[in-house]
Homo-oligomer: 462 residues x 2
């Protein structure tokens, strides 16, 4: 071997050793992050307070303001974190006290159904609306049946979520148009109210709420979620002939209300202008406690800051925890945040959202502007081997609703992907409570996010 | 291009097309298996009956015999399945009606602790045993403290499961020696009873049972599981000085009882002598309903046969569903089954056990005799790309306790690996009930097993 080649060989070995050493260090950090989350985690305690003291947090409600102050206070207790509120206004909808849907039998008897008014739904007169039920499976069905058959009726949108989709979010995506646009479409064709089969693959008596959107401000009919068992009951009853129901509902829009987004950040030492965002949305529906949707995501994002601080990790880049307002009913928090960020000329190198429940993490989904996606994804993929032993995998796809408006900044948008099988058991229902979140699953999600933040902060992705 | 090379090229294309075509067909079959499990699955209904009508199925109990007859009957209803019972005898332990552990305060008051006698535990005298508590963290501690300090005491084994293990089964493996051998060891050093911290990472009031083994038939002291909250309570109390407890327990061994293993099989068309086994264990502890442990595994194994039959799949090899007896307390079912199989000169090409709960499947773990492992694993790995989109991954490691005795047949032993985070919330407790199993998670596990069985049956692994 010549001196020159010996030297090259020496350099190669040196380079290799440095690489191996860095990998060991990184693996050690990922292990420490997980140890910290699983041994000293605060996410579960935070979630308990958020659910039990500030549950049912529609943006603009008193509960929401309580939650915003509470989480801001907790973020502020983490050393090095600057916590503040970002003003935001949200259209506030309030559920009525009178909410009841009943089948009316010919003998004068009634059977109360398990229902829940959809978010934004208008009220009926106090005496209610009575009408004949007509079942449809899609918005198209309404158009095909036309005004003659839909007019004066109560439309039951009854296309189930497809149970054969392995990802339940795909099944949700394939059915939720009925809830979002169904009542509006039915109203356009002269219906007097709309019942929407709950967005779940479960057969049960639990009605699900969620946003409905009126296309035309002049034609608004009540939109009501109905449990899958009761949707099937009506469908079966219709096979026997005419079915009449009465609907009493009292929801109303209350105008704009203050609903600030909560922010806590650690300023980066070397590249403070490169922001790595972690977040979830603080608002929830009014029923249940907003545990999986999305208290879990909020406390996981908070926990990322706590873990990094407790491990005395000093980030090079700015790590910003953002608990968005009003994801459920207009996305005012996400839109306001992006607009202000753009106005300040900020750059979000990466944004990670957790808004798919506090279940066992199975990986991350990545999206970005096509002009930069390949480079980003290639760089991120280098860290995968160090995350696989934690059961984490990478995929390309969507990220999160609240961080979506940041896409124009051409950073990398990332969604935490927990196991999705149980999500729609609880989503938008009275059963979305603290008790249905498992401590370890919640903590592992936080650790997964903290690990990815660590890699992005240490190595960048550009 | 020469004629010869053109022909080679043509052959290559033909070969490639056939391969691609076979891959498409296989992917289609895997999709159909999942569709069938998720749309028409029977596992959940079977589990409901097993839990609600035959819950708490200690091998040898009436509940166990009921479960054996029920599952044999259901297997027999699947077209083409030959269902039968394999006789087996198991040592039957019965929990006493009197079971109570209380802290005795100096002022005469008592505080009842959340406890549950361990399986095989002997009874105390009816008036109970009273003694001073001494806390240890390991079997070694007992030896170090010696007879002088242990003699006459009630030993509290209080080493927690390590929460930082990502797989909870690893944490269990690191702590369960206290339950299995702790009471025996403590007795050897003169203790009068042993309390064992429950095998869970949760902090709660739920005591866990499970098997304890006496090394010496002459020295047997009662072994009692205690909830993690109460173990911590005792530990804290001991910091303030002497702590006395009274133990009343009434468990006893009832001798050998009939506890047959349940078998249902479809005979293979081409290689009937190559058996592919799928199974779980039918017995459970007496508390709870044996839902995750291991009703889930049993109904998943039954579901594999049902799915294949309903898709009109005609297996080349013999597919045998085995619901083993007495896994929890001696493994009589697994040992008897292997002995009979060996005596008949049978060969199990593969055996897949589901005994880690009815949670979202995350893959399979493979083990085999070292002489054949590499070939088998290499062949099996070819199918992985078609399973990854279902969130399934492969690893090497253990398989299942019941199929372990088959290892000498030099087939491939396989364990279904569901997500493990929630398993020890329920394991061996009164909360291991039907309600804590999610329908989709259960069904996906069955579909994963059926998919792997399909590949092994179609292609073999040798």
């Amino acid at each position: 071997m010549s001196v020159k080649s010996s030297f090259s060989f020496f350099l190669s070995i040196l380079f290799l050793s440095t690489m191996i050493c860095a990998q060991d260090e990184d693996a050690y950090m990922v292990k420490n992050i997980h140890n910290e989350a699983l041994s000293n985690g605060k996410a579960y305690d935070w979630l308990h307070s958020l659910c039990k003291k500030h549950g049912g947090r529609i943006a603009g409600s008193k509960a929401y303001l309580g939650a915003a102050n509470y989480t801001k206070g907790e973020l502020g207790k983490i050393a090095g974190v600057n916590a503040y509120l970002q003003p935001c206004e949200a259209n506030y909808w309030q559920r009525g006290k009178l909410d009841e849907v009943s089948v009316l039998f010919k003998n004068g008897k009634k059977k109360k159904l398990n229902t829940l008014a959809l978010g934004n739904s208008v009220a009926t007169p106090k005496s209610g609306i009575t009408g004949e039920v007509i079942e449809v499976n899609s918005l198209d069905d309404v158009e095909k049946l036309g005004k003659e058959k839909i007019g004066g009726k109560i439309v039951l949108f009854n296309r189930p979520m497809d149970p054969t989709q392995i990802r339940t979010f795909s099944a949700y995506g394939g059915a939720v148009d009925q809830r979002v646009y169904g009542p509006s479409k039915a109203g356009e064709y002269g219906a007097v109210a709309a019942l929407v089969r709950s967005m779940t693959t479960r057969q049960d008596d639990v009605p699900h709420t969620g946003v409905t959107v009126y296309k035309d401000s002049l034609i608004r009919i009540p939109g009501i979620g109905i449990s899958t068992n009761d949707a099937d009951y009506l469908s079966q009853a219709l096979k026997g002939g005419q079915v009449k129901v009465s609907v009493i509902s009292g929801g109303k829009m209350m105008g704009k209300r203050s609903a600030p987004t909560v922010i806590g950040e650690i300023r980066g030492s070397d590249f403070p202008d490169e922001i790595i965002l972690i977040g979830g949305h603080l608002d929830s529906w009014d029923v249940g406690e907003g545990a999986h949707d999305d208290g879990a995501g909020c406390v996981q994002a908070m926990e990322v800051l706590r873990i990094l601080e407790s491990l005395q990790y000093k980030p090079k880049r700015t790590i910003r925890c953002v608990l968005f307002s009003n994801e459920e009913n207009g996305l005012a928090g996400g839109k306001t945040y992006a607009a202000e960020s753009n106005a300040k000329g900020e750059f979000h190198l990466a944004a990670i959202e957790s808004d798919a429940g506090g279940f066992s993490p199975r990986g991350f989904s990545f999206e970005a502007d096509t002009s930069v996606f390949k480079t980003y994804y290639k760089n991120v993929n280098k860290w995968l081997p160090m995350l696989e032993s934690y059961g984490l995998h990478f995929e390309t796809g969507g990220s999160g609703a609240d961080i979506g408006p940041l896409k124009s900044q051409k950073g990398l948008l990332i969604g935490l992907r927990p196991d999705s099988q149980r999500y729609f058991d609880f989503h938008h229902t009275a059963t979305d409570t603290f008790e249905n979140v498992n401590k370890r699953e919640l903590e592992l999600g936080a650790a997964a996010m903290a690990s990815l933040v660590f890699f992005i902060d240490k190595y960048g992705i550009k």
